[in-house]
C-alpha cells in the first residue's frame, strides 16, 4: 500500500478535534475519562496513518456516532444514538472459556493495564453498501488471546455481546436471537489488523458504538465487528454467528468484503462513503488485500462468502 505525504491525516487537526470533543463532553456531561483507554499520542504517527489510503478522509465524530447498526438499541440507524443513554459500560468483565488452559473472568481494567492502546484508522464497510473511515483506539486481539492461553486444539474464537434488555431496549424484541454472537478463525483473530477497540476519536467508546470494548476486523463487513463483548470462547469447530443463523443465504461466516461476490440485496461492487455524493468502487478485502489475502489462498471465496 502506497503512503503519500498528502494522505497522512494532519495530526494537529486530529488532536484539536480530539480536544474539542473531550472539552465539549466534559463541559456538558462531566464525563469521567479513564486514561488507560486512550492511545499514547506521542507515539509514532505512522501507527494510525499507515493504513489510510490516499483517497480516504476521516469521517466526523458526529457521523460515526449517529449512524449505527446496533440492533440491541433498535433497528433504525439513529436508534443506537438515541436509545443507548441508559447503558452502563462500567464495571465490565470478560469471561474467557472453552478450549483454554484455565477458564477465567477478566476485569476490563485488568486487561487494559496489560495491553498497549494504539491508534488505528480503519475503513469500515457495512454489508449495506455504505462505509466510513474511523480513528479507533484499541489493542490487538492477539494480545488478549495470549493472556487467555488457548489450547492448541482451539481453531476458532467466538464472541458474545452482553444481554441486558433493561438497558438495551432493542433486546426486548426478538429481531435477532439474543445475545448477538460472532466468530473468527484463529488465524484471522491473530492477524495484526484485528483489534479490540476501546475508544474512537480519542475518547472512550460511545455506548452506540459498542462500549466499552468491541471487535474491529476491517477487511470484513461491519456486522462481524461485534460490540460490547462479555464472553470469548475458544472452540475447535466453526461457531454459529448471528446473521448467518438468521439468513444463511445472505450472510456467511467469513463475510470478507468482496466486490465480486454479490449479496441478494445489495450489490457489493460499489459503496457510498458517508459524507460523499457519488458512490465509489469497493476494494477487495476493503483495501486490506496485502495484509490478509494470504489467509484465504486455499479458500473458494464465492462458496465461503
Amino acid at each position: 500500500m502506497k503512503i503519500l505525504g498528502s494522505e497522512i491525516t494532519p495530526y494537529k487537526t486530529y488532536l484539536n478535534r480530539r480536544k474539542f470533543i473531550k472539552g465539549s463532553l466534559a463541559s456538558t456531561m462531566l464525563a469521567t475519562v479513564t486514561s488507560s483507554a486512550f492511545a499514547n499520542h506521542d507515539s509514532d504517527l505512522s501507527i494510525y496513518t499507515k493504513n489510510l489510503n490516499e483517497n480516504d478522509k476521516l469521517n466526523s465524530y458526529e457521523e460515526i456516532t449517529t449512524y449505527n447498526n446496533f440492533y440491541e438499541f433498535g433497528t433504525h440507524k439513529k436508534h443506537p444514538h438515541l436509545n443507548s443513554g441508559n447503558f452502563k459500560p462500567r464495571p465490565w468483565t470478560i469471561k474467557i472459556d472453552g478450549l483454554v488452559k484455565k477458564p477465567q473472568t477478566f476485569d476490563l481494567e485488568k486487561i487494559l493495564s496489560n495491553v498497549t492502546i494504539e491508534d488505528r484508522v480503519y475503513r469500515l464497510r457495512c454489508v449495506e453498501a455504505w462505509s466510513m473511515v474511523i480513528p479507533w483506539q484499541g489493542f490487538q486481539l492477539s494480545e488478549l488471546i495470549k493472556m487467555a492461553e488457548p489450547l492448541s486444539s482451539a481453531k476458532y474464537v467466538q464472541f458474545v455481546t452482553v444481554f441486558r434488555p433493561e438497558e438495551m431496549p432493542g433486546q426486548q424484541k426478538r429481531t435477532i436471537i439474543w445475545p448477538y454472537r460472532e466468530g473468527l478463525r484463529m488465524d484471522e483473530a491473530m492477524n495484526p489488523l484485528t483489534i479490540l477497540a476501546t475508544g474512537l476519536y480519542g475518547h472512550e467508546m460511545p455506548n452506540q458504538n459498542g462500549a466499552p470494548i468491541r471487535l474491529v476486523v476491517p477487511w470484513k463487513y461491519g456486522f462481524k465487528s461485534i460490540k460490547s463483548i462479555v464472553e470469548i470462547r475458544f472452540l475447535d469447530t466453526q461457531p454459529e454467528t448471528s446473521w448467518e443463523t438468521l439468513a444463511p443465504w445472505e450472510y456467511g461466516f467469513y463475510a470478507n468484503v468482496n466486490p465480486n461476490v454479490n449479496h441478494p440485496r445489495w450489490s457489493q461492487g460499489t459503496e457510498r462513503r458517508i459524507g460523499e455524493f457519488k458512490r465509489r468502487e469497493t476494494l477487495m478485502f476493503n483495501g486490506y488485500e496485502e495484509e490478509v489475502a494470504h489467509l484465504y489462498k486455499d479458500l473458494d471465496l464465492t462458496k465461503f462468502y
Partner: protein, 201 residues
C-alpha cells in the same frame, strides 16, 4: 357532513398536506439536514410515503362502502396520483442520486435483486393507472375496461409491500402490518363480490 361537496372542498387542504413532505425533504436535502446518509434517507421517506398512499387509496374504496362515507371516493384519484408522484420521486432518487445514471449497473440491479425487481414492476404497473386517470380517459375506454385496468392496483400494492418487506433486515413488523392491511382490504372485496348475487336476489 360527509357530502360530496364537503369532500371536494377538503381537496385543496389535502393537496397541500400530501405535497408538503416532499417539499420539506427536498429542502432538507439541499440544506444538508437530512442526516448522515441523506440519499438513503430521502429514498426511504419517499418510498414509504408512496406505499402508505397506495394503501390509503385501497382503504378509500372500502370506506366508500359505508353509506354515510360514500362520497369519500372523490378523494381517491388525487391520492392515487400523489402515490404515483412519490413513486416517481423515489425511483428518480434511486436512478439519479443513488446511482448517478449508471444504467448498466441499474439494469443489473433490477434483474438481480428481487426487492428491486418487485419495486420496479410495481412502478411499471402504476404507469397505466396514472395515465388513465382523467374523466376523458374513462369515457374513451369505457368504465368496464377502465375498471379492469385499475385492478392493477392490487399487484401494485402487494409488490410495493414485498419490496419493503425484503429490504428490511430483521424487524419486519412494519411491512407485515402493511401487508396485513392490504390482505384484509382484498378479502373484503372478494367477500363483497361473492355476496353480491345473493343481495340481488
Amino acid at each position: 357532513m360527509f357530502s360530496t361537496r364537503n369532500f371536494n372542498r377538503s381537496k385543496p387542504v389535502l393537496f397541500i398536506l400530501i405535497l408538503f413532505p416532499s417539499l420539506l425533504w427536498a429542502y432538507q436535502f439541499v440544506t444538508g439536514n437530512l442526516g448522515v446518509n441523506p440519499i438513503e434517507k430521502l429514498m426511504d421517506e419517499l418510498g414509504l410515503m408512496a406505499l402508505r398512499l397506495i394503501i390509503i387509496t385501497l382503504m378509500i374504496t372500502t370506506l366508500s362502502n359505508i353509506k354515510p362515507l360514500k362520497s369519500i371516493v372523490v378523494l381517491r384519484r388525487m391520492i392515487g396520483l400523489f402515490a404515483f408522484y412519490y413513486v416517481c420521486l423515489h425511483f428518480s432518487t434511486y436512478i439519479v442520486l443513488d446511482h448517478f445514471l449508471d444504467m448498466q449497473f441499474i439494469i443489473q440491479d433490477i434483474i438481480k435483486r428481487p426487492f428491486i425487481t418487485f419495486g420496479f414492476i410495481s412502478f411499471l404497473f402504476l404507469i397505466p393507472l396514472a395515465s388513465t386517470s382523467t374523466n376523458n380517459m374513462i369515457k374513451r375506454l369505457g368504465f368496464k375496461l377502465w375498471k379492469k385496468i385499475h385492478y392493477l392496483i392490487y399487484p401494485v400494492a402487494i409488490l410495493a409491500c414485498m419490496h419493503f418487506y425484503v429490504l428490511v433486515r430483521a424487524d419486519k413488523t412494519e411491512p407485515v402490518i402493511y401487508m396485513g392491511i392490504i390482505i384484509l382490504l382484498l378479502l373484503h372485496r372478494i367477500f363483497k363480490r361473492l355476496t353480491r348475487p345473493q343481495l340481488a336476489q
